[in-house]
Symmetry: C3
Subunit: 271 residues, 3 copies
């Protein structure tokens, strides 16, 4: 069965997610629906873009990824479909689909325009249900993407770039905190290779936040340090993550998503 994933900022209290699923199942009852997350921070397209980028690649070939984080719904922004090497992405043209689509390799972009493939009455406040859900369902049935609407060039869609970690000098990286997960793990935008090149033979890093400094060992797994101690590792998504064994690094470091930290190479644990 074809997989359709959903990523929204709708939360789990309201019936909005269920309405999207209802519309999809009314068109294609033989689809497998998977929730990526419905707890994207309200209107935060960077948060949604990160969740999509990190998780979409694990899905089966042909999966259709629908994202509805859409503060501009009903306004001038376009509705788009992006076909990539392995997947199809559907959502508002506000950049939220862009990082994941670029990473997978964009083949074709279409603006959603064909009213025959939408709900009969399209409201101006819930395109997730009235536009994106039916388009996802019809594409999952095998309808050719050309029927969705006219082709757009890459220059015609909104770009969104997740911030990149910057090497400030030979010994310092300025990293952004791109996610804090349910465990309080602090996930930075420093990628595996960049970090390996930077670290060299050092086995510690010094982390400077706005208000404090910490020297932490670079390890492979949480349990290599004592319970309650800080550590740094390359996480399962390939990003540098600051953690506490059985604890919450976000609380120890006192940092938030979107914040910056400075990372320096250290050869021992001394300050």
């Amino acid at each position: 069965m074809r997989v359709i994933t959903l990523t929204t900022d709708f939360g789990y209290k309201d019936p909005y997610v269920a309405e999207m699923k209802a519309v999809i199942l009314s068109i294609n009852p033989n689809v497998t629906l998977v929730d990526i997350s419905h707890e994207v921070k309200r209107h935060d397209i960077y948060h949604a873009a990160y969740l999509l980028l990190t998780s979409c690649k694990y899905f089966p070939l042909g999966a259709i990824h629908v994202v509805v984080v859409d503060p501009g719904v009903g306004g001038l922004r376009k509705s788009i479909v992006i076909r990539t090497r392995r997947f199809t992405f559907i959502g508002p043209d506000n950049g939220v689909l862009f990082p994941a689509a670029v990473e997978d390799g964009i083949l074709e972009i279409r603006e959603i325009r064909n009213p025959i493939l939408l709900r009969r009455k399209v409201t101006s406040t819930f395109h997730g249900r009235d536009i994106f859900a039916p388009i996802a369902a019809y594409l999952s049935l095998g309808i050719d993407v050309k029927h969705v609407g006219p082709r757009l060039s890459i220059g015609e869609v909104r770009k969104l770039y997740l911030p990149k970690a910057i090497v400030i000098d030979d010994n310092t990286i300025c990293a952004n905190i791109i996610h804090i997960d349910n465990f309080g793990n602090v996930i930075t935008n420093v990628k595996e290779r960049q970090f390996a090149d930077f670290l060299g033979k050092a086995s510690f890093i010094e982390i400077s936040t706005k208000s404090a400094r910490f020297v932490v060992p670079v390890v492979k797994t949480y349990s290599e340090v004592e319970e309650g101690s800080l550590l740094a590792l390359i996480n399962s998504e390939g990003f540098l993550e600051i953690s506490v064994n059985k604890g919450a690094a976000s609380e120890v470091l006192n940092v938030k998503r979107g914040g910056k930290i400075y990372i320096r190479r250290k050869y021992d644990s001394a300050f």
Copy 2:
């Protein structure tokens, strides 16, 4: 595949929802399960009735809607099945199914009595798992509803009516806040047609809460006003909604679900 939806006040921490799904899948492994919401306010049948009413209509013909918001479980209240024009509703006879069933057109009501269609041991505290889940599963297999139990007349079941907005005078509607969603949108019980008739050619409304008054423009979509500004629109469910563009109207208005607001017609934005 046949769709069974679930609406409960069980939350996502406990295994209760999973136990219902387990029972259903043990009887009919080929069913599609969709969660409408499991975060209905504890024991709040009005909240559940609203969620069901607004979302059930988007599901495919033949969908079976199970609701377990059931403070009287194990007591004297009946367990019922309501067959409507397009759907089947299953739950306690406390009124929670009533608004959605009436809206779709009631064809037949049955009291659940046939022990052969229930779990062997029916506990007095979890009818969701022991009664409603197996009944839903058997009906999804195509078993005739007459096997469920004796027919009830409409006079024999509990009614529940969602409050209606009242036109107080030519210029004032008294509305109830029937839902506050995840975005802080304040959803009233004023319906699209009632509001259009009331508004006439006016393009603003004055909203009076217990403690303050606000004059807000009536628009089609959130982004027609500046970020942080109040607006009123007919939402995707056909109800008058008070919102803030990229903000939470419930906080700005300082109102709660169940509260009342007074709405007056205004021809300009002046107080």
Copy 3:
């Protein structure tokens, strides 16, 4: 379709659950996925073991239960598969699977070792996605468990025992609070038969917490007492539960999961 259940402490904000589902569906697109809960208390294997124990038995024969509450991920703990009379359990060898597996009757235990059945790159921080998910998917396809890895004896795996209620004297049971549910129901580890033997012809119990005593009636269902009043009953899982009709017993008793209460038999409601 074969059922795979998931129980984790990942929460609903992060993409981790979706990544596990993605990996499973990439291997077996025809599986039915059911979430037991993803809100297990962080790293709390007792909590997870309780949720699994109480809910797994309702699932269809052959269901595969995956648990990822895994504070020792990447360390020395083994990854295991336990085949029982009706089910297959997959997870870390930290005891979390043990109570449910023992209850169902252990037939065979295997250590997960065969790299062919894992994701190509196994990270040291997310075995749920890289080890347990693919193993579950392959087993759901009918691959024999012997291909997973070498057999382990029961003596080689970690045991975890949920605490048992202790009869202190003829008139007193010391019970542990093993769960507090979404309704504030206080669920103890006193089992149905043990309680029936203890209670005899009494119809009340006295409950002593650290700071207070309560005398409550033993009833069959919540609505037998007035709204807001305490009661005791054998709940739908067969455990003694202290509840408040339409209220939260955990707040009235002022107790937490993991705490102890003393229960005494009473023949009337007087203190």
